[in-house]
């Protein structure tokens, strides 16, 4: 396997241009999601889905921002963040896929083979981030491939390529993690105490995300789960409980027949 590749999305320099969202649509030939006015700041897309593999979230806040000692109260803050599939180390979608359509690539990313997916929908319910979705007219599940085709051709993914501020950085995951550490320290030193990394730790519930973020507020403000856990972590326990229930079924039926046989003899 080649080096594990990833995305580091630094939302502190995101300008909300949606170039990533458009580049992703263009490169991957994604159908439109309909044209709906959501009245949620500049976001009329809402969430990641079968036809949206990069999604820019917009959050308009009015609250004090500590710029320096003379900072005003009530400075407006406008958060923007480009969300994407996390390409989890322990990917629930991949674990539960019964056909083997979802697989781990040589770049350490998680990709669906659309010629194998039979649209069972299991991955949709398994993803703790609500990323993957079934395309209703086509019946199959779709999500970000981290531009598997471009990577195989030695190119960086379309979103990272198009990002004008380098908010989206693509590269070997180890390097990105180091760079992100430095960036968050720098922001803290500049007084941005609320800057934090999300998904960078290999010790989190999904074993670390292959696409991680620098956020300026709590994850849930951006629509991200605060403490996602890969559901299959509990799978051995689930089977143990189901095994106990299966034995109980067999036992109950055996008792039912044994007791009525005694009755019949009497």
């Amino acid at each position: 396997m080649a080096e594990r590749m990833g995305f580091f999305t630094d939302t502190s320099v995101c300008i909300g241009c949606k170039a990533c969202q458009v580049a992703c649509k263009e490169w991957n030939l994604l159908p439109d999601d309909g044209f709906v006015f959501e009245a949620n700041s500049y976001d009329n897309t809402g969430a990641l889905g079968a036809n949206t593999w990069r999604h820019v979230a917009f959050i308009e806040q009015s609250r004090p921002v500590p710029v320096d000692d003379s900072a005003d109260d009530g400075v407006e803050r406008w958060l923007m963040s480009s969300d994407v599939c996390k390409h989890c180390t322990h990917a629930a979608c991949l674990d539960v896929c019964p056909t083997g359509a979802l697989f781990r690539t040589e770049f350490g990313t998680v990709v669906i083979q659309e010629d194998i997916c039979n649209g069972c929908g299991y991955c949709v319910s398994a993803c703790p981030y609500g990323v993957i979705e079934r395309r209703e007219d086509d019946g199959r599940a779709w999500k970000c491939t981290m531009c598997y085709d471009r990577q195989r051709g030695g190119l960086e993914p379309a979103c990272a390529k198009a990002c004008p501020t380098d908010s989206i950085q693509f590269g070997p995951l180890d390097e990105l993690r180091e760079r992100a550490e430095e960036r968050v320290e720098r922001l803290h030193a500049d007084g941005q105490a609320e800057a934090r990394l999300y998904g960078e730790s290999p010790d989190d519930g999904v074993g670390g995300a292959g696409a991680f973020f620098l956020l300026l507020d709590e994850p849930e403000v951006y629509g991200l789960p605060p403490d996602p856990v890969v559901t299959t972590r509990d799978l051995p326990a689930m089977w143990r409980w189901a095994g106990a229930a299966a034995l109980s079924v067999a036992g109950a039926v055996a008792v039912a027949f044994a007791s009525s046989r005694k009755g019949a003899r009497r």
């Binding site: 019964p98 083997g100 039979n118 559901t231 299959t232 409980w241 079924v249 027949f257």
Partner: protein, 295 residues
Amino acid sequence: MVPEAEFQSYYGRPVLKPPVWKEPYGPAYLYLGGLSGVSSVMAVMAEFTGHDRLARTARVAAAIGAAAGAGLLVAELGRPARFLNMLRVFKPTSPMSMGSWILAAQGALSGVAASTELTGILPAVGDAAVLATGLTGPLTATYTAVLLADTAVPAWHEAYRELPFLFAGSALASAGAVGMLATPRAQAGPARVVAVMGAVVESVAGVVMERRLGLVGEPYRLGKAGGRMRAARVLTAGGGLLASIAGRSRTLTALSGLALTAGALCTRFGVLEAGRTSTADPKYTIVPQRQRQAV
């Protein structure tokens, strides 16, 4: 009562995607799988204890349940023509993969067992097949709990301890009900006992589950899902009580069998709906994760 939870979200939008499994397919399959699985175990025991007439009912119910259930599963795929891709890999991390193999075995074995019973051809083969369903049956009836629990859906995942027992109870009640409805009363004694035990297990597991889950148990109590779960409880308890005296008359048998069947269906439809509700409101995703982090 769970206090109103404080939490932040992105415009109140859900974090998770709703389950794609739809009514009636998904929940009807859960019911049929349970019916088939427990009917097989009943067929095995009936064979050993010489309950010939009940054995016949159970074999047929097991085969019909598995075949009809498999049909519903295929119909629910986004690409039904690719259903055989389910048997492309054997994947222990995927309960749906394991379930496909279990169901394939259960369907084939129970089909053989029922056809030899009805045609009288190769009875020894049928007996061997029925014996083997003694293994696949209990798995068919309970793996579906793991199928639902092994997701990010809060109301399903958090219930992974109780769901197998809820489904096991529901399956016992379903198969007991069909056994007593489709077998002459004098020979349906064990089916009635199975039905009563199933009603008890289903009721107890349901109550324990809702109690233990706390906030995430709320979807089982509110709205459409709550209505179905309450209906299930009444029908199952009533049907179970009636089953204990159903040996006395045909009317009692019919009432009990139908109430238990309706109860089991309500449970399955209720659980599906509760899962959907728990993904629709970000509260059920965010608040428990925050609480977990706070400890």
